[in-house]
Amino acid sequence: MNDPIFIDVFLAVGLLLLCGFSLHVRDLFTGVVTFIIFGLLMSVAWVRMQAPDLALAEAAIGSGITGALFLGALRRLEESAPEYLAPAGPGSPVRHWLFDLGIGAMGLALYPLVTILVPAMLDGPPGLAGPVSEAMADAGARNPVTAIILNMRGYDTMLELVVLLLGWSGVCVLQGDLGRTDIQPATGELAVLGAFVRFLRHPGILVAGYLVWVGGDAPGGAFQAGAMLGGVGAIGLMAGGPVRPLFSGPGVRPALAAGAAVFLLTGLAMIAAGGNFLEFRGSRAAALLLVIELFSTVSIGLVLALLFAACTFPPHPPKGGAIAEGNS
């Protein structure tokens, strides 16, 4: 297969330009839209670098969910503090652009250092590829990315799940209503969106399940699947409709914590079984990793959808509207 360099040049230049625009543009909305386009181009760049795992995560989380969160935050800002949105005076001064150009030039200057000098000094390709491929036989997953994320650096991934949980707690605190999980979406006739959700939810859940299952062998895994579920959940919450009861009620908070909790408890169980904390080895490893990933997927999807709801819908439902079932 021929490998046209101009695509890569276009991607690199386009990414730098989009980056600059999203930081320096006067209008915040344009900045957010530019950021979303940046994420999409970035995931194409990951595909070009043969990293489909990262491409999936970037498209789903970096561009999709984060973009939706930014748009939601922007809408809330419009309602509560519009003075921050009005562009005052000219855009960013030239020196900001020059500073960013300097950073970009430094990155370019580092490129030969990283690609030529460091491998020459190390006498071989840098990194942990060798040790990882040696440990793969016992890692419980045939996809090295999944083995690394869940097994070899499980601490990191477990703490990422905790960070998501903390982020959601932070939102609850900011809204002055700790533990609020009832969602009051804007009412109105969103029949078309409702039909779209009914059309989308089953394929969406199917794709999420597939992504978790395939993560052991091929690109996929809990974060990509969770982003898929989160996306379906977010659209469902926007539409009202049958998805909504899933996001309120007594089961929500245990489900939010399930990913981190199951990860932690399974890691502790490894000590009880005579091994090391968070070290999954042998014949049980694959099944344990799958269980952790399934619970993590549900938690990630739920957190992402609730974060979206928190920054999209007003914190207190308007009086006279239908009262969502509380959680008190």
């Binding site: 078309v192 969106l193 779209f196 989308l200 394929p203």
Partner: protein
Amino acid sequence: MPPPIILLKYLLLIVALVFFTAGTVGILRFPDLYSRLHALTKCDNLGLGFVVVAVALHAADGWLAVKLVLIWFLALASSATACYLVARAGLRAGQEPWKREP
């Protein structure tokens, strides 16, 4: 002379490019939100459709072609929904439809 299947693929891609170009020109040049949306969905649906058919002809096996067509159907559904939502939001925000000057 390349085999006709390759010519067909190129032809489909060129037709797709025509739709994408027309849609992009429409977004840039049309006078109001609603006609721009109209232009956008045309290039999304038809342009992407022709790309999908061309790539499906290129695909190694039938399953890949089926997956590509399914992706197109998803894009159709989401672009129709998104178009409706943007138009509805525009109408609610008081965007006047463009009318020719009398």
